[in-house]
Symmetry: C4
Subunit: 355 residues, 4 copies
């Protein structure tokens, strides 16, 4: 019987082919950040309040000003058909069933139009393209498919060094592809001269910079949330140009190894935000108590990634739904045991150092 | 030959069926608190005093104002017939043989009347019922069976997430049941509407709150000791409403994972108590030196749980008695080696950081 | 080829019978102190000085005012014939060959008269007996056999809880016995009444106390060094009554578990001693660099125990000699690499935190 | 497919004979410094800056005032023909191909004249000889073979205790020899008297001292960089006598165990240098992110040793070149992901504590 997110992870990891498992579970270089993202939650202890009245409490909250059933969101993840034939369709159904806000990746392996009819609140993630018009075409299309916010990923201007993935020979080919990007013009291919760097003279020339983000925010009909911030100074500057929210993230440890666990950076960035914009966090969440700790440190909501794919791999939409259900239930249990009737009661004085 | 509590644990764990072993040894979620409860003692070092006169010393002390042969108590544990056919009867005999105060769980699998004739000092543990009269009926019955104090468990208003237990398929059924609770009226069964939460709209509605505890203290003919406190603020408030003692506990790590080891919270709560009420501690005690460290940090006595059941599982009343005997003996040896003739000599300057 | 002390330990541990290996390598309870004694050295780093002139340097030093070839002493250990048929005789030959001061245990399995003719400087260790005259008879006999100082063990008024040894069924019987103690009157056997404690009403009644040590110091023709001190306050009091030296020790972790590693207590006690008496240290020394670190923290010399027995077990006197030779050589290499021509150059600014 | 330096290490370690693998990978005593050199990088976290303009960035820098393509140098290593028949010739070709400054060991197994024609910038490492003229003959020869700087190793006046190497029976004999030293006069062989020490009365008499280094600096036509400094005080004194640069190093953990990881000492020595001379670092570098961290802490460049030999062992010059290429590429990726267009942008505020 699969109960916890760990159970789903174990089961999915057993059944996935080596290369896809490496892609899903792996991360950058020695995967220190992958491990630390989870371990960091284990170093935070809980100090429950006794005898509090939690009758008729609930997990409801507001996310970006809109009421939500709970603060657990589906993180953007590419190529979900790697894990289930229905891919993002199944995830959208699971999110709908569990009333979770879903962030669709722009590297979706299912067309956004094909899931537009599935009920539920959705945002869309995108990488800024070298060409502003290309970026805007994604935004427009996302909006027309019902996305109510953009999540712009900033921490991966180029791919990380994914040693495990490379060693396993993972490649995106064949049937599962980023179909939403087909409509885009081919990205510019720089002609490198001898001695020039693929990184610096190629990819980084076209990587997004501050003015690009400012322009996107100005032109976007949707609020722009940024993902991948770990520095308080960046958070302040991002707020200054008008972002609608900040997701503290190290991309699940998939891009740059030894970036700190987002949960360890959250409090600083919440402080820097001074309540002006909501702050979110992802990375390493496997328990309702992890969600609780993130909220106690000031997150408006959390994003969960790999565990949803574990559910998807094991049992499609139903598996993904079970994973989300379990997190919701564990959060409720943790709240009740800590004496919190609502998420507003989840304050940092309920935390202590563990070990 | 079984000598130490670890020996009994190893032997019991080998012979118990999987589900019962999971129930006994397991805890909440990843069992970080289960492990930490024990590990925390290992981080406390001992700094013995040389050449002290310990001739004719002893382990005698007072517990709640009454003299006791030693400061090791039997913690409340449910369903002891899972481990031995005689269950709580055998434990009571062991406690009597070793002059240990025993706390009988209200989830006893043997009727309290059936052990009332066994000599020895006993307290009774109870969970406050949704109905005050039901709670009082338990109190009255406990008193009539000779209990001289109540231990009210506060840290488990609902069950924790016991992953290991669930995975092992443990269930309370068949022969071993909480027989003392048979006499109670059926607990209220809330009719949940669609979208309501079993946790918040069900169980937590009936969970005890501060006024309930105040009423119990007012009406109880027995002194009320509370179990499960980890916060100094809660301790102060509990003293304010008249509790007779406080047990610092995280329920053996069985309810909420990453709650800190009680021994790490003890000094704070002893300080908050300012000597007004006695403070006890449980969780992770496996050595006489652990008992010694708890006393040095200000505990009046300690409660020991799982090890008693390990003794019970291995050799019934005799096994449980051997476990208690070993702890008493180890405590005496530790006292002698540290230069303490009496428990009053066990002061915090004998402790140091270890590693 | 056996080179390092670890090599000898591995080889000896393989060839010794289970019970004797448990006796030699084991310690109290969970053997945390046994492990920590060694681990603590690994947390001390070395910060060498470059280009220092170490030509014609040496390891010579003075121990208790008398010149010694080097600061590595043989710690007192009981029953050495368990490890080699010649026992203490072989150890004395090894010590003589390597110019090491040897401390003979009063629980020697060879008569002190039988090794009196072996050259070399020797001290004798003793436990104070319940009867002062008995103690003095040991002192007189030791002096007549050439011992030039007494080492009085203070940290073991009763035996520790040696779980590993008990589990392995180790017992001192048969051929290997504490032959020097045969001449003593039988120790008093207290008649315990019901309810009395073997520890408190038996052994601790006869355990040495401050006045007993004062009397011994007053009556002894030999200087009295005490072994087993971990507290600075005890050190001050011991100096006040006239001890000639202090050995910081936790008895190799064999008596009371979670006592701190002696090397971590050394600096405090050296500071308390204010140069009035020499301070020694034992416990966990396996490398010349460990000796170096002890000297840097203020030790006049170090005592090494188990490794000598590993040498003895592997190859008798020659093995024990090789172990001592290796330590001497490693110390010289460490000194040269750190830029220290003499032990006086080994100062604490050569140390740093490691990891 | 071999991609990372770890891949090359694993492959090389599999195929090398036991004794040569022990020589290459091993270190002093328990190899705590060997392990810590690598582990220390894992405790440094990266805190990337978002949206920085890195287009047309590069890894170019200056080393000792001369432009270099990147800051990764080949550390001096003896006897490279142990790993590949072409030995230092292959390494020189790899370094040339990857535009890396190579430091040739004076214990080269290929004559410096035989690689003088291979293009690329090279320095030569040497141990100061007992005879100043002998040292100067090495310097002159090195200069005539195109070396543009001297690297004088100061941290190994005598060999360290290489337990693993000794246990594996490694010896330099037969075909692979320090051929450049053949031309030197035989080193003095002290006649030791009984009781004299090989270390102190032999080797250390001839070991270099401060005046020897001053004389070398005065006489050398090449700038003198020193290797093996871990103390800020030594750095200050070295600058005072005119060294041209300082390499913070513990000799890869091969000489004295429990010396701290050089990366942990770097900032202190950079601070002591006050910009007057460049500071380099080696030890434990296995990732481009490690190079990045060293630069962020103030290193002008880094030296990499064992990984180059792993490359050499696996695939000769091509393998060594691949290792250097990978480090360059990883450094570029790390820079881009951290928002650094040039090495001047790599500042310490990009670092944070990890775990």
């Amino acid at each position: 019987m699969l109960t916890t997110l760990i159970d789903f992870e174990t089961a999915a990891s057993k059944q996935l082919p080596d290369d896809i498992r490496a892609y899903l579970n792996g991360g950058a270089e020695a995967e220190r950040s992958v491990a630390e993202n989870r371990a960091a939650f284990g170093r935070i202890g809980l100090l429950p309040k006794l005898l509090a009245d939690c009758g008729h409490g609930h997990t409801r909250t507001t996310i970006l000003g809109v009421e939500a059933a709970h603060p657990v969101m589906v993180a953007p993840m590419a190529f979900q058909r790697l894990f289930d034939p229905q891919g993002e369709t199944a995830t959208a159904m699971a999110a709908a069933a569990q009333e979770a806000v879903m962030v669709l990746s722009c590297q979706t392996s299912v067309l956004p139009e094909d899931i537009a009819d599935i009920p539920g609140r959705r945002w869309i993630q995108l990488y800024m393209q070298a060409d502003h018009d290309a970026t805007m075409s994604l935004v427009t299309r996302a909006a027309s498919c019902g996305a109510s916010a953009l999540v712009v990923t900033l921490d991966a201007p180029i791919n990380g060094l994914r040693d495990r993935e490379v060693a396993a020979g993972f490649a995106v080919d064949g049937d599962v592809r980023p179909v939403m990007l087909d409509a885009l013009p081919h990205p510019p291919r720089p002609q490198l001269e001898a001695g020039q760097s693929v990184v610096f003279d190629g990819m980084m020339v076209f990587a997004p910079k501050w003015p690009d983000l400012e322009r996107l925010i100005a032109d976007s009909p949707l609020p722009v949330i940024v993902k991948g911030c770990l520095r308080a100074q960046d958070a302040v500057r991002l707020m200054g140009i008008g972002v609608a929210g900040i997701i503290v993230s190290n991309h699940g440890g998939r891009v740059l190894d030894t970036t700190p666990a987002p949960i360890t950076r959250l409090a600083d960035i919440v402080k820097a935000a001074e309540g002006a914009v909501p702050v979110f966090v992802d990375g390493g969440i496997r328990r309702g108590s992890d969600v609780f700790k993130a909220l106690a440190l000031g997150a408006e909501a959390v994003l969960v990634g790999r565990p949803i794919m574990h559910g998807l791999a094991v049992d499609g939409a139903r598996g993904a739904s079970q994973v989300l259900r379990r997190l919701r239930d564990e959060l409720a249990v943790t709240m009740a045991l800590c004496g919190c009737a609502t998420v507003a009661d989840i304050t940092s004085d309920l935390l202590t150092e563990f070990t």
